[in-house]
Amino acid sequence: MAEAKRDKLIFEKSVSGRKAYALPPLDVPESSLESLFPSKFLRKEPPGLPEVSELDLVRHYVKLSQKNFSIDSGFYPLGSCTMKYNPKINDEIARLPGLAALHPLQPEETLQGALGLLYALEELLKEILGFDRISFQPVAGAQGEMVGLMMIRAYLQSKGENRHKVLIPDSAHGTNPASAMLAGFEVEEIRSNSQGLIDLDDLKKHMDRDCAALMLTNPNTLGLFEKDIIDISKVVHEAGGLMYMDGANLNALLGLVRPGDMGFDVVHSNLHKTFSTPHGGGGPGAGAVAVKAFLAPFLPKPTIEKKGERYVLDDNRPDSIGKVSTFYGNFGNLVRAYVYIRSNGAEGLARISQMAILNANYVRSKLEKVLKVAQDRICMHEVVFSAKKFKSREIHARDICKRLMDYGFHPPTVYFPLIVEEALMIEPTETESKETLDSFCDALISISKEIELNPELLLNAPFTTPVGRLDETEAVKKLNVRWKKG
């Protein structure tokens, strides 16, 4: 990483009169804007954007990129985020003009390749997930959750049922309750039992005629497979509720188990996680949502259908919940996911989950000497530790994270799931080698020694990053969320 300097903003580098663009000369007759618009519509001052040269601009952002950690620069074991390697071929294909330079409203006959790809991707995902129909409209996992729950609501209403509650375990991702609220439900929390699994008795207690659905992540956010899933499904279905699966952790299941075979009625898949489209510093994602046949009429419109040899977009869906993104979802990411699935094939997909699980258990075994594992059992593709034992030395999970940066690693997810005190959630993913895992574990082992010998070191870490630990309270109290000319 570049040395720590106070880097100017691009706005602070602006020099009046500099340019980084050139347009062709106007080739239609010149006329004044005032002759086309009443002057009240015209901007008095141009927008306050910077004026820089092309080289100024390129250097500025190349420097910024060098102050950013990424999966291509190092190990990034963020739990629940599935930071796996993103194959370069995916991006090369997605950027072909024949896919990137398509207007969404072009005539269907000029889009047969693209629509055919979407149709084929739906077929592949139906097989991988064990479901009957899929919508690609949701552009992120959380949007998929909202769509899935809205379909459940529409389905129940079509049967004249006004169930208004969704049950969500206390270990769930924060998006689950937020999405349920947005879909018009009330949320009730289900306790986890001492094994870190859903408490069946508590579930039975909450399951009544007001319950629309149970929203479950499997494997759950403790990295554990909900082994009572068949019983759980039975309880929910017998009470007339539906089973929603948050597919954020699907990377553990490919070729091993299909959500559709576990009794789920709806699942969303974060294609950007499991099917390796780059996370882009926080998006774009893609949150395909899959349903069993009885929910298909409620899918967002349009769907992709095959009529004879032609692929068409079907808008004529009277029971549809409507549209959720302007056009057809994040097509560029859908192309990447398609290429990834085809590249891996059946053997590759199964191996992804097997190696993801192997890597997580390897990290669990190597680290359980120094950190307490939240649940002492075989885990799936991620493992949750607790750093609670260091609290007597005034060291928190956060401090361990900051120190890990000095060792060249991105820290794990921290303080999640909420039910584990001082949680550190590690998801190595299948693309990491044994050597990488060894050096990561060695770093944590050596940090645990530092906690014994020199806890101050952790409290002041990191030392090697472009800035030291930032005062996040200041960021809230003295809000400064945009630059202003001084």
């Binding site: 080739d27 804007l33 618009f37 901007r43 954007l49 004026e51 092309e54 990129s65 950690f69 990424s70 999966i71 194959p87 294909i93 990137a100 330079a101 207007h103 889009l111 959380a142 949007q143 609501r153 924060g174 937020a178 609220m181 947005l182 018009g184 949320v187 497979f225 082994k227 899933i229 068949i230 188990v257 075979d261 882009g280 510093g281 926080g282 998006g283 919940i321 549209k323 993104s325 302007t326 057809y328 979802g329 994040n330 560029g332 085809r342 094939g345 590759g348 191996r351 097997q354 699980i357 192997l358 390897y362 075989i378 940066m405 820290p411 044994k434 030291g468 930032l470 809000l479 945009r482």
Partner: protein, 446 residues
């Protein structure tokens, strides 16, 4: 091609450390009854060469806009993307990073988002902006949710029919779970009718939704509309074309409460409709009601300036069901592309792109208006899109144009039954005079 590095030997030694004899032991918690005891029917693994060949065949079934000339707009725009954007956007350090939860390792992304927030504020005349939402339509939907939070007990939303019909659909879908009533406002002469707004707005109106320029390309009478809404204590959200703001005054400066829009036209490819990026700006007084991520300034112990995510207590991972929104993954990379675009064009360039698009669109409209059988339905001022009324069906014209490698305009009758034979055309700075003249010649041909 598979991407796992493990050798058979390594697998064995790792299993040994874990203390189980075989891989099968790792799946002990999965009940046998739900195991998939067969191989997936997803085909054999393909090599890069095979997948490239296969995708090459597939791509040839599409007609793309590097080989066809397009006059389609309607929410997806063929503006020129400067060459420098790709190489910096696709630097691995931006491209393959995650959400900047660990600020010290993400200063590059965080500073860029802070610059993006600043650029969006400058463009929209607003005080604060978030770090991006999914797309223009969902940004407008989030604006409604925010107006409802601010309006407390108010439960009606006035939605102009001049808003992109797809945006209207998305807004309604998002609000299905709420006890809200949408009231459509009719248009007149291509603009939202002030009389209708006056009649329909009440003390129960939480917000008025507008688009500027609107779906027909026409400019709305923003100050008068804001006045009508504010007189009744309602908020105003406007979905804007950011390119237009290079020359047109922003509804933000004119007093709108929320400005949202689609950032695709600024440096993002059309890509069959996604990934796109929604921007969202408002006034400081509403910042705690803002959906999505926000980056702010903070300092380290040595007083160095840095950037971090802030006001996270509004977000779903902290507030859960009481969050301002359920958004988590957003469209950071596309927001970055639009930042690079805004910075490349800068103060003068964005105005020039907007000016050239306008002059070319007006040139085309003028030329078309001289063709017998083509009528100009509205006299309202327009930006880079405009409607004409034809004496034939737009479908017929588009079929003829396609044979000449031209993708024609939008058949408005598909979305507005009362606008049969109305044809919406879009002209960006990329269209040359000879392309415009060719279109005119082809449409004049009988």
């Amino acid at each position: 091609m598979m991407y796992t590095p493990h050798t058979e030997e390594e697998i064995q030694s790792m299993l040994q450390i874990i203390g189980i004899p075989s891989m099968e032991g790792l799946f002990a918690d999965i009940p046998k009854s739900v195991r998939l005891n067969r191989i997936l029917k997803t085909g054999r693994p393909l090599s890069e060469l095979e997948i490239r060949q296969e995708m090459g065949d597939l791509v040839r079934k599409n007609s793309h806009l590097e080989e066809y000339t397009s006059f389609l707009g309607a929410g997806s725009y063929d503006h020129y993307i400067p060459a420098l954007i790709g190489p910096i956007l696709f630097r691995s350090e931006f491209y393959t990073a995650y959400t900047p939860y660990q600020a010290e390792l993400s200063q590059g992304m965080l500073q860029a988002i802070y610059e993006y927030q600043t650029a969006i504020c400058e463009l929209t005349g607003m005080e604060v902006a978030n770090a991006s939402l999914y797309d223009g339509a969902s940004a407008l939907a989030e604006a409604v949710l925010m107006m409802v939070r601010i309006g407390k007990k108010r439960s009606e939303i006035l939605i102009s029919k001049t808003i992109h019909p797809f945006y209207q659909d998305v807004v309604r879908t998002y609000c299905k779970g709420l006890d809200l009533k949408f009231i459509e406002v009719e248009y007149q002469n291509g603009q939202v009718s002030l009389d209708q707004v006056k009649k329909q707005i009440t003390d129960n109106t939480a917000g008025l939704l507008l688009q500027y320029p609107n779906f027909f390309g026409c400019l709305e009478e923003i100050p008068e509309l804001i006045q009508l809404a504010h007189d009744k204590g309602a908020k105003v959200a406007v979905s804007v074309d950011p390119i237009a703001l290079g020359i047109l005054n922003s509804p933000g400066e004119l007093g709108a409460d929320i400005i949202v829009g689609e950032g695709q036209g600024m440096g993002n490819s059309m890509s069959l409709g996604g990934p796109y990026v929604g921007f969202f700006a408002t006034r400081t007084e509403f910042i705690r009601q803002l959906p999505g991520r926000i980056v702010g300034v903070a300092h380290d112990k040595e007083g160095r300036r840095g950037y971090t995510l802030t006001l996270q207590t509004r977000e779903q991972h902290i507030k859960r069901e009481r969050a301002t929104s359920n958004i988590c993954t957003n469209e950071s990379l596309n927001a970055l592309a639009s930042l690079f675009y805004m910075v490349t064009l800068g103060k003068k360039g964005l105005a020039e792109v907007a000016r050239q698009s306008t002059l070319k669109a007006h040139f085309l409209q003028d030329a078309l208006s001289r063709i017998p059988g083509v009528a100009i339905p509205w006299s309202a001022p327009f930006f880079k899109e405009f409607a004409v009324k034809l004496d034939r069906s737009p479908k017929e014209i588009n079929e003829a144009l396609l044979k000449e490698r031209i993708i024609g305009g939008l058949d408005l009758g598909r979305y507005y039954p009362e606008l049969k034979q109305h044809y919406l055309l879009c002209v960006t700075e990329k269209r040359t005079k000879s392309e415009l003249e060719r279109l005119v010649a082809l449409i004049s041909r009988r």
